[in-house]
Amino acid sequence: METNTEKQEYTITVYTENQVGLLNRIAIIFSRRKINVESLNTSPSEIDGIHRFTIVVMESHDIVLKVVRQIEKQVEVLKAYFNTNDEIVWQELALYKVLSEEITEKVKVERLLREYGARAVAIRKDFIVFETTGHREETNKLMKALEPFGLVEFVRSARVAIIKESSGFHEKLKDFEKREPSEEVIENEYLGKREAVFTM
């Protein structure tokens, strides 16, 4: 399968216990294999006490599959999934700091901001901070557009993603807490289905 060795963007979603040091345990799985993490977000999940990591890497299917298995092997990891971009809905947030005088003096800038759906989150006499959310290309575009008008600072958050087909983790967690867990919990879906990776 040639597609299995072709690099593309994968979003890895990891459900974990809330434990000091786990971030490092997961991070070294990538660094050991010299895989660059493009983006990493840790956040609460839909379940109290369970954390959710969202990790983006540019890698081949084969590599990502092995890495995800290594992640899932960690004691405090409940479950790890990986998805291509068409299987998820994702967003990133970007902040832009622009000098107020540029905005007030140049009508074009205002039009630009409207065009990109940016929202002002802080308005000061000397500067204004705008915010947009979207895919990387979208937030990048506004950054490029603002550059000639004295963009002072730019920062973008990690990707957060929702898996389209997922029905959440509540039901699964119940299975995890049982002493004799169901097949569903114990095995990675990709092991059961081989090529069809995600079937939650």
Partner: protein
């Protein structure tokens, strides 16, 4: 149970006792002093072996775990004590050895201040532990230690490190007794066995004309030696082993066709590329076993049994991945497979064995030259022990020769550093192996390089009086590297001509009896004297300086390109 006041240190020792740890290997130091102070009062319930270096302590713990099948327990202090464990942790991680290592740590309020003997051992050991955890409050101790022992021994075993700050060791708390752990919600030690994969595997085996079973330590770790034997016997399949699978099946079993990999036997290597179904049981397709992967068993359907799902398809893509505990999966396969006679197929192996014997083995174990060979030493050991001893090896040529030629009747008789290849492993591991199997003869076979890496453990032997037979096979070279330099670097012997001290005198200084053999006529007698000796004994045998281990699959070559000379 009524609560009573215990200190964190006492709780640590209570946990060790409750988990059945009868022997602890360790070395005291500032940050672990409260635990050692408590140990003073537990001396009647816990045997503590004072080693000479923490690395020796952890290798001893590994040896103990390997022969006893129990979790090895190791104590070390913070800072250098803890960092000295790292090699052993990495070794135990890659060879799936169950260990619980307890390290002292500076007071919690000093963490991160570069306090005396403070080191971030949790982060240092993260890649080489199955799990690790830092305790800064004594109330956590019973629960965390229960988890530690459970994780070390369950599923695919491995090393666990628990770092305990000094204040937690001193702190008194209401102790409510010890409850062993048997469930962690985020941890799945055993995958559920899926019937459809069992069925698929059974069908493949039943249709196979030339099936080959290759097995690893999983059979031993799963305590599935009997199940494994039944499985191969029912359908008459040849079975070859990895270096860590050695001794799971007796050497003289008619279906035991030998060792896999770089210095393995001729037949199993060549025929890996001729079998039609390859059945891998509890092994992980290490590169030393597979040789060049893109030319490895390409013609065969592959069935892979492993308890660790991440091993399936990791190196070799399986046709059927049977994940699960082989103690459970093997009987299911045995049930389904047909009784078969495969003597014709076994005969092919026998022919290869004969060829290998004629061209390679015979001269190694019955040498005609003047120089003694490692192979003949091991042959004489076999003749004397009848294959009943535990053989512990270090790493290098002597290790390959011992694994190739040593005879084994019983499981858990081969202790060696496989995955990590840790020189210096042999001597301390042999000490631990003896504590783990006190009724058995333990023979450590070590090269003149490896012995000098951990020779300080002679002191541990001296002080504990443990009975270990140490054989130094001295070829006056770092032999394996020299062999490679001869074969691949045009004999440019770069820094392999290691000198040795007078080992007999060194042993004597430690109160260990010993002898040196330089002439073949003394060899049999010397080995018999060593084995008959009451207590530890060190025998140095001067073997040929430039002998090579053959057969050999050169790095980057396919297993079928194995060289006999």
């Amino acid at each position: 149970m009524a609560t009573k006041k215990l200190t964190g240190s006492q709780a640590v020792l209570e946990a060790c006792i409750a988990e059945g740890a009868d022997t602890i290997f360790g070395y005291p130091g500032g940050a672990i002093m409260p635990i050692y102070d408590a140990l003073y009062d537990y001396n009647d319930q816990l045997k503590h072996i004072l080693v000479r270096h923490e690395q020796g302590g952890i290798h001893a713990g590994q040896g103990y775990a390997r022969t006893s099948g129990k979790v090895g327990v190791v104590f070390a202090t913070s800072g250098p004590g803890a960092t000295n464990l790292v090699t052993g942790l990495a070794d135990a991680m890659i060879d799936s050895t169950p260990l619980v290592c307890i390290t002292g740590q500076v007071f919690a309020h000093l963490l991160g201040t570069d306090a005396f003997q403070e080191t971030d051992i949790i982060n240092i050991t993260m890649p080489v532990t199955k799990w690790n955890y830092q305790i800064t409050d004594a109330t956590e101790i019973p629960g965390i230690l229960a988890k530690a022992f459970y994780l070390a021994r369950s599923g695919r075993p491995g090393p666990v490190l628990i770092d305990i700050s000094k204040n937690a060791q001193i702190q008194s708390f209401d102790y409510e007794g010890y409850t062993p752990c048997n469930h962690i919600r985020s941890y799945r030690p055993k995958p559920v066995i899926r019937k459809n994969y069992i069925d698929e595997a059974v069908a493949l085996i039943n249709n196979a004309k030339k099936p080959l079973v290759i097995f690893g330590q999983g059979v031993i770790l799963g305590k599935a030696e009997k199940e494994f034997k039944k499985f191969i016997e029912k359908s008459g399949m040849p079975a070859a082993w990895t270096i860590l699978g050695l001794s799971a099946l007796p050497t003289d079993h008619p279906q035991n066709v030998g060792m896999l990999g770089m210095h393995g036997n001729y037949g199993p290597n060549v025929l890996t590329n001729e079998c039609d179904v390859l059945i891998a049981v509890g092994m992980r397709f290490d590169d030393r076993v597979t040789g060049r992967l893109d030319k490895y068993a390409k013609q065969a359907k592959i069935i892979h049994l492993d308890i660790d799902p991440s091993e399936i398809d990791k190196n070799v893509k399986a046709t059927v991945g049977v994940w699960g505990d082989c103690k459970e999966t093997l009987p299911l396969l045995t049930l389904g497979i047909q009784q078969k006679d495969r003597s014709e197929w076994l005969k092919v192996f026998a022919d290869y064995t004969q060829k290998e014997y004629d061209q390679c083995i015979k001269e190694e174990i019955y040498p005609t030259g003047k120089e003694m060979t490692m192979g003949e030493v091991i042959r004489i050991v076999n003749e004397t022990t009848k294959g009943n001893a535990v053989m512990v090896t270090d790493v290098g040529q002597h290790q390959m020769v011992t694994c190739r030629y040593a005879k084994f009747n019983e499981t858990r008789s081969n202790v060696t550093s496989g995955g990590l290849g840790t020189m210096g492993f042999g001597l301390p591991a042999a000490i631990g192996a003896k504590f783990g199997a006190q009724e058995r003869t333990v023979i450590a076979v070590i090269g003149d390089g490896g012995i000098q890496m951990t020779i300080q453990e002679f002191g541990t032997i001296m002080q504990t009086g443990v009975d270990v037979k140490i054989m130094i096979l001295n070829n006056q070279f770092l032999g394996m590297v020299r062999q490679w330099q001869e074969l691949f670097n045009e004999k440019r012997y770069s820094f392999v001509d290691i000198q040795s001290p007078d080992y007999v005198m060194v042993a004597k200084a430690y109160g260990i009896a010993g002898a040196k053999v330089e002439d073949r006529k003394d060899l049999v007698n010397a080995i018999e004297t060593m084995l008959a000796h009451k207590g530890s004994y060190m025998l140095e045998v001067m073997v040929g300086k430039e002998n090579n281990v053959f057969p050999m699959v050169p790095q980057g070559c396919s297993v079928s390109e194995i060289r006999l000379k």
